[in-house]
Amino acid sequence: MQRRKFLQLAMAGSALSVLPLAGCGSKSSQPQPLLLSGSDNGDQHTLCGWQLGQGERFRLPVEQRVHAPLMRPNSQQAVFVARRPGTLIYVVDVQQGVIEQQLSALPGRHFYGHAIFSADGRWLYVPENAYAEQGAGKIGVYDARANFQRVQEFDLDGIGPHQIALMPDGFTLAIALGGIQTHPDYSRDKLNLYSMQSALLYLDTRSGQVTGRFNAPHQHLSLRHLDVAKDGTVMVGAQFQSSANPDEAYTGPLVFIQRGEQPLQAWQASEETWQAQQHYIASVAMNSSGTLAITTSPRGGVVNLWQVAEARLLKQYRVKDVAGAGYLPANGGFVVSNGLGQLFKVSNELQLLEHAASTRWDNHLLINV
């Protein structure tokens, strides 16, 4: 027993060698990347900035639980969007760690937790639920140069726009249309499971017209999250939504890719791989070259590392309550966050980077390099 204890100490000691991300030698002025995420601390919703290797930069209590943060290009501004049925967007100066502005949704509207900026940082495109209009999906357009005034909106002819991204052409939006109708009067209940139709949409911001629609291959698959590679490859993560008989549960693919005019192409993996996701992909992220990707599933407690070209599963790691995901170029790996306050590096191995005490990292993570 003595010897055993002693060994544990020895090993615990070696496990303490948490590696700094940029390498030990670089004491240069190169700043460590800043991670942005919503975080819950007890019953308090906060906006959190966390510098790798240095810890918390700011933690700002807010009224509404946020979902995904994003940086405004060429600025120190980040926005954090409230998740459904939230109605606020927080604009944060990440240098100062202060909330600069708070935007409210129009009456009869709420947000879905995601947004994207135009490449020049001027326009903010925000998926909205016009719940007073039978849940029609809209993209609200806000002018960041004019105090984020709402200037325009695009109709989607569909329900439940969720994550949104800008295509490499600079004017097309890729929109994951979840297809599920909710109404704040019914909390977060799904109201249309028998008629839902999810799709990946493309919208031209110059004309406001939907220019492409790729329907989900199964009626109860809800396409929610996406990422875009430099070559325009779009990766989509789905959730399976059904109140139907669990005996007939779906065990098929939850991750798809879309290129050019081709239909959505399912990634091939074993039934067991998909079952391990428990019908739920929280985040998807690709590296900058679009060769590697990760998906997270908090319900299954797994992170999958994929090779994109062949849509092949390289690794599956178990990480409890994992959700947030991003790519860190300098690090050659992905970073994921979880509801236990942990941050992991995901590459050909899984490495615990840091632990933030009393922190539950919420759904999505943004890495600002």
């Binding site: 303490l16 819950d40 459904r84 977060r188 067991e272 407690g301 509801g339 539950r360 759904n363």
Partner: protein, 385 residues
């Protein structure tokens, strides 16, 4: 302090350097408080004295099962074959009961690499077990433990062995004595038994750990910022609470609720766990016994003690949990095996409905624990966005 060869010098020095000041501080804190902190005691006891013995028991039964399967397949005299098959059936029941004792534990290496399914493919609504096993026997494949390990989960594990030992056609003694496939059937039986034992052995070893690797029992019971699985005490306690909540739900719903059906006309005997061997009742008892051990601590410092001594959880809730365990056990004793043949008998069915009611009360009470402790079971996993 004597140095052992196996430890790299560097690690030793590092650990000494890093740890001694911490230990000193820790010792001072202890002296100041005059009391051993309760969480490490709870977690260490739960891991080492409740969970590890369950895995050790499972592995021991799997070893006996493998040995008996080999003895059965080596026997040549019909009388001897018959006797050994009966012994092997009995041993399978013992192994399966030991598995049912491990089954509710919702954390640990069992969750890796689909091992849970590899040990027990269930539920098997389409009877894939029969189809896949008969196809494998009819194939030209070499029937080894390695082949089984790479095969569909439906031909691995205890449910596959159950088919080969209890099914009225697939497990019949004649199938091992006569016909072209007799020897292949026995090869497969031994290969699956060997594979099961490899998996149970691996699980036990991973809980124990060895000189090169910290065991899961220690990982679980020594939370900390550098622990990739359990960053703090609450994370470890949450895993235990999650096991109680989900484990009781699985017994209630999968082992009992689905076969019992909404009324006797809808009772489904083939949805019982281990319907082929008619061992369902014993398995339910074994799983409930584990939940109770995890709660009461199996004679040592368990969750119940911790809740009473260290937390302000309402004593009324603790009393309700205590009583609902007792009520569930009392009803489990009211039942007669096998459930398979009695499920559609009105008297037995109504006893099962009552058991379901009591399990529902137990599950509901356990489900109140996380919130009353301020521990959230899953954050992102309950999100739905």
């Amino acid at each position: 302090m004597k140095r052992t060869k196996q430890i790299p010098l560097q690690a030793l020095e590092k650990s000494t350097w890093l740890r001694w000041p911490l230990l000193a501080v820790f010792a001072l804190t202890l002296a100041a408080c005059g009391k051993e902190p309760a969480e490490p005691k709870l977690l260490a006891h739960t891991a080492h004295e409740v969970i590890v013995p369950l895995y050790a028991a499972l592995d021991a039964e799997a070893v006996k099962q493998l040995e008996l399967s080999q003895a059965f397949c080596q026997a040549t005299e019909p009388d001897q074959q018959q006797s050994l098959q009966q012994q092997l059936q009995k041993q399978w029941r013992a192994t399966m009961s030991a598995w049912a004792g491990v089954q509710p534990i919702g954390f640990g290496p069992l969750e890796d690499g689909n091992l849970r399914w590899k040990l027990q493919f269930w539920p098997d609504r389409k009877d894939l077990t029969r189809k896949k096993i008969e196809a494998l026997i009819a194939s030209d494949d070499e029937l080894t433990a390695a082949r089984v390990a790479s095969a569909s989960v439906s031909v691995q594990g205890l449910a596959a062995l159950e088919y080969l030992l209890f099914d009225t056609s697939g497990g019949a003694l004649e199938g091992y004595q006569n016909g072209e496939q007799a020897s292949r059937r026995c090869l497969l039986l031994q290969a699956i038994a060997e594979r099961v034992q490899q998996v149970t052995h691996r699980l036990l070893n991973e809980w124990y750990g060895d000189i090169n690797k910290l065991g899961y029992a220690d990982t679980y019971s020594q939370p900390g910022a550098d622990n990739a699985l359990y960053p703090n005490n609450n994370a470890s306690i949450a895993a235990l609470l999650d096991t109680l909540v989900v484990g009781s739900e699985v017994v209630k719903r999968n082992k009992l609720g689905i076969p019992v059906g909404k009324d006797i006309a809808h009772a489904k005997p083939y949805r019982l766990e281990a319907w082929r061997s008619q061992h369902s009742l014993a398995l339910m008892r074994a799983s409930v016994a584990t939940l109770e051990q995890l709660y009461r601590g199996n004679g040592g410092y368990g969750l119940q003690h911790y809740l009473v001594e260290e937390t302000d959880v309402d004593v009324a809730l603790l009393r309700d949990i205590d009583e609902s365990f007792k009520a569930t056990n009392a009803q489990l004793l009211q039942l007669n095996a096998p459930l398979f043949s009695q499920l559609k008998q009105p008297e037995q069915h109504s006893k099962l409905v009552e058991l379901h009611r009591r399990l529902n009360v137990l599950q509901g009470n356990l489900n109140k624990l996380p919130e009353s402790l301020g521990i959230r079971l899953g954050f992102n996993s309950n999100d739905g966005d």
